[in-house]
């Protein structure tokens, strides 16, 4: 495995592909009068493209637009406020992935609530939260279920465990998001020009190559499913440019070691067993039809939203432009808060705090060096 990873991040090979991409970009520019615009949908790609230096090296050759694939960043403010409020109530243990801890709510964060005495625990796996529920039978244990299709099966593994072991004091606050509806939304609004998609490797592992056929059938926009090492991402960009120059549109699977045509059928089955689509609110965008998931009626005893009545006021509005950044309309540097009022130490929006956030990627890896 290590050998595969090493080869995929081989700098010499990467530099060769960069040269090829630069050549293809020139050809594209001669033909179209501008450089090609590709969207990397996934937050992990945003981070990896910035960290490896690809974004900086290719910035005159390919416009790489960061998409809406960071699960924390797309969670709307009211949901964040509700989760913090949920954690503040007595006799609760709220468990979460680490990324949520410092996400700013209208009044404080989970980190602040924890320092004020709320029992909030960072776990590495949702099944750890089920264990905590078993150890604390007099308390309600709630897991904050944030994520795209990659994470949803992991969340459901915890639900399955709680169901089998009849853990009645365990529930989940679901704020999951689906990839297809948000891509459709972006393409239908036409706010941002996208010539091709660098498609998310991890999400694709679950949903499979077949799930992107709509991009071809309805929009004639090519997509390449990509891994996360430098060579893998560059290879995907190269393949997209090749297709664009030839004016072809396919979905290509450039991450075959991990992604199959139909995806993970067991995970898909689990999702359809426990969950059903629901209209979901996205930060800075609003409600998108059938873009989230909720527990089916039969499993609503696991639904923390039903189990606990959480009411929060309308969120306080800030000048944070996360919404536009998520949609690829502006770069973080165009937000007046970026790098001054809003930094990783004192984040105003989730894009600055999440380890997959576009603002965090720009702040950490793409600030001027001189």
């Amino acid at each position: 495995m290590q050998k595969v990873l090493t080869e995929a991040s081989n700098p010499e090979l990467a530099r060769k592909i960069i040269k090829q991409i630069q050549k293809l970009s020139l050809t594209y520019k001669e033909k179209n009068g501008r450089i090609p615009a590709l969207m990397e949908v996934c937050g992990s790609h945003t981070m990896a493209l910035a960290r490896t230096g690809i974004k900086r090296i290719l910035h005159e050759d390919v416009r790489l637009i960061s998409g809406p694939g960071c699960p924390v960043c797309v969670t709307d403010q009211k949901s964040i406020d509700s989760m913090i409020e949920l954690a503040k109530q007595k006799n609760r243990i709220v468990c979460t992935f680490g990324d949520m801890m410092r996400v700013p709510g209208s009044k404080g964060s989970l980190t602040k609530a924890k320092s004020e005495g709320s029992d909030i625990r960072v776990v590495y796996s949702p099944t750890d939260a089920v264990q905590i529920a078993k150890q604390n039978p007099t308390k309600e244990v709630i897991f904050l279920g944030i994520g795209f299709e990659t994470t949803i099966p992991v969340l459901l593994a915890a639900i399955q465990m709680a169901e089998q072991e009849k853990v009645a004091n365990f529930s989940m606050w679901l704020n999951t998001k689906l990839i297809e509806p948000i891509l459709t939304y972006l393409l239908d609004t036409g706010e941002v020009n996208i010539d091709g998609f660098i498609l998310p490797g991890h999400v694709s592992m679950i949903i499979g190559e077949e799930s992107y056929q709509f991009l071809i059938e309805q929009y004639k926009i090519p997509g390449v499913i990509s891994g996360f090492e430098a060579v893998e991402m560059l290879s995907s960009i190269y393949k997209l440019l090749k297709m664009l120059i030839k004016e072809e549109a396919f979905i290509e699977n450039d991450y075959r070691s991990v992604v199959s045509y139909s995806g993970n059928l067991i995970a898909k089955k689990m999702m359809s067993t426990y969950l059903q689509p629901i209209d979901e609110a996205w930060r800075g965008i609003g409600v998108i039809k059938n873009s989230g998931l909720r527990f089916k009626d039969h499993y609503q005893h696991f639904d923390a939203k039903k189990k606990f009545n959480i009411e929060v006021a309308e969120p306080v509005k800030t000048k944070c432009r996360c919404g536009e950044i998520i949609r690829g309309l502006i770069l973080p540097e165009e937000c007046s808060l970026f790098g001054t009022a809003c930094t990783p130490i004192k984040p105003i929006g989730p894009c600055m705090v999440s380890s997959e956030g576009t603002c965090a990627a720009h702040y950490t890896y793409l600030r001027e060096v001189n």
Partner: protein
């Protein structure tokens, strides 16, 4: 002796006396110093260096060491990288009621063994016991005293062209501790690198006059230490990503969890900034020592309009590095 520590072990009475005599004095061999309320020393030195540090590591036993060993190496290294020769340590324990005496003995013996190895003497100590749940096992504070007879470090002379050297692989301690906590669901056979560096550092300082500064990159890792140096002395340091010594296992865990090795804690590594003409000399002295065999040149002091820490990536672009922000957290997907 009782099998477990009780509150009575910290009340100054008979049990406390038993613990001090049978465990601490036995291990540390400071019977004479312990007869007075303070240890009294005579020192001949141009300058005296003092450093204090508290240790709250969890778990208290981990691959490659325990909290006792760490409490010695941590303070010894702080003195050593300041250019001092560490001589004496004091050790304070805050023990949670219920800690097994067997475990305490292990820890105390590790302290004695590491102190012997580092050629420092333990001259004073203190023990407090707190109720169960008010601490986690044991916390240890050590204060160290060292002497400087000739100030050799001149950080104010750091200039463009100076070389940055690290004495070995980075991130081993952090990943060893994280996997020992058992929360990651990842098993490694990595050991903490915790070790006293003073003797190796003395070898270097005896051979060259051109070490400008040293730091031990503990919490916050290599990057945070170098950001501090670049800010304190208004210089630009550029690291070469491909030169960083990183164990495959550390690299692998970092890829899975989204950590960067340059921000992970080390407990047995030292950074040197040296005049480039002595770069190879320092490197060869380090590489001859068991704790420095993976030493490497990892960067240079560069000319730049704005001070700070930069890193040249494997692909040839450059990025700015900051201090570690917030706690290290895993990513979602």
């Amino acid at each position: 002796m009782e099998e477990r520590i009780s509150l009575a072990h910290g009340d100054g009475g008979e049990l406390a006396n038993q613990l001090i005599k049978e465990l601490f004095i036995e291990a540390f061999g400071h019977r004479e110093e312990a007869k007075l309320d303070a240890a009294i020393l005579s020192l001949k030195a141009e300058k005296i260096a003092i450093s204090t540090d508290s240790f709250v590591v969890h778990p208290i036993f981990f691959p490659g060491g325990n909290i006792g060993k760490l409490a010695v190496t941590g303070t010894v290294n702080d003195l050593a990288v300041s250019g001092a020769v560490p001589l004496y340590l004091t050790v304070g324990f805050i023990i949670e009621e219920g800690l097994s005496i067997y475990e305490l003995r292990e820890i105390v013996n590790s302290i004695a063994a590491e102190a012997k190895k580092a050629q420092v003497k333990i001259i004073a100590g203190d023990t407090k016991v707190v109720e169960k749940g008010k601490a986690e096992g044991v916390y240890i504070n050590t204060t160290g005293l060292g002497v400087i007879n000739r100030q050799q470090l001149h950080p104010e002379t750091i200039t463009v062209g100076d070389s940055v050297i690290i004495s070995g692989t980075i991130g081993d301690h952090a990943i060893a501790i994280l996997s020992a906590r058992g929360e990651l669901g990842i098993q490694t056979d990595l050991e903490s690198d915790c070790a006293s560096l003073n003797l190796m550092i003395q070898n270097v300082l005896q051979s060259t006059e051109h070490v400008k500064i040293m730091r031990d990159p503990t919490r916050g890792g290599l990057a945070t230490s170098l950001v501090e140096i670049s800010e304190d002395f208004n210089v630009t340091i550029e690291l070469e990503e491909t030169s960083l010594p990183i164990k495959e296992q550390v690299d692998g865990v970092c890829q899975i969890l989204g950590y960067e090795p340059i921000y992970l804690a080390n407990e047995g590594k030292v950074i040197f900034i040296v005049d480039s003409k002595d770069e190879q000399l320092v490197l060869s002295i380090l590489q001859q020592h068991p704790l420095g065999k993976n030493a490497r040149v990892i960067g240079k002091v560069k000319e730049n309009t704005k001070s700070g820490l930069l890193m040249r990536t494997a692909l040839g672009s450059t990025r700015r590095l900051d201090r570690l922000t917030g706690i290290l957290l895993p990513r979602i997907c």
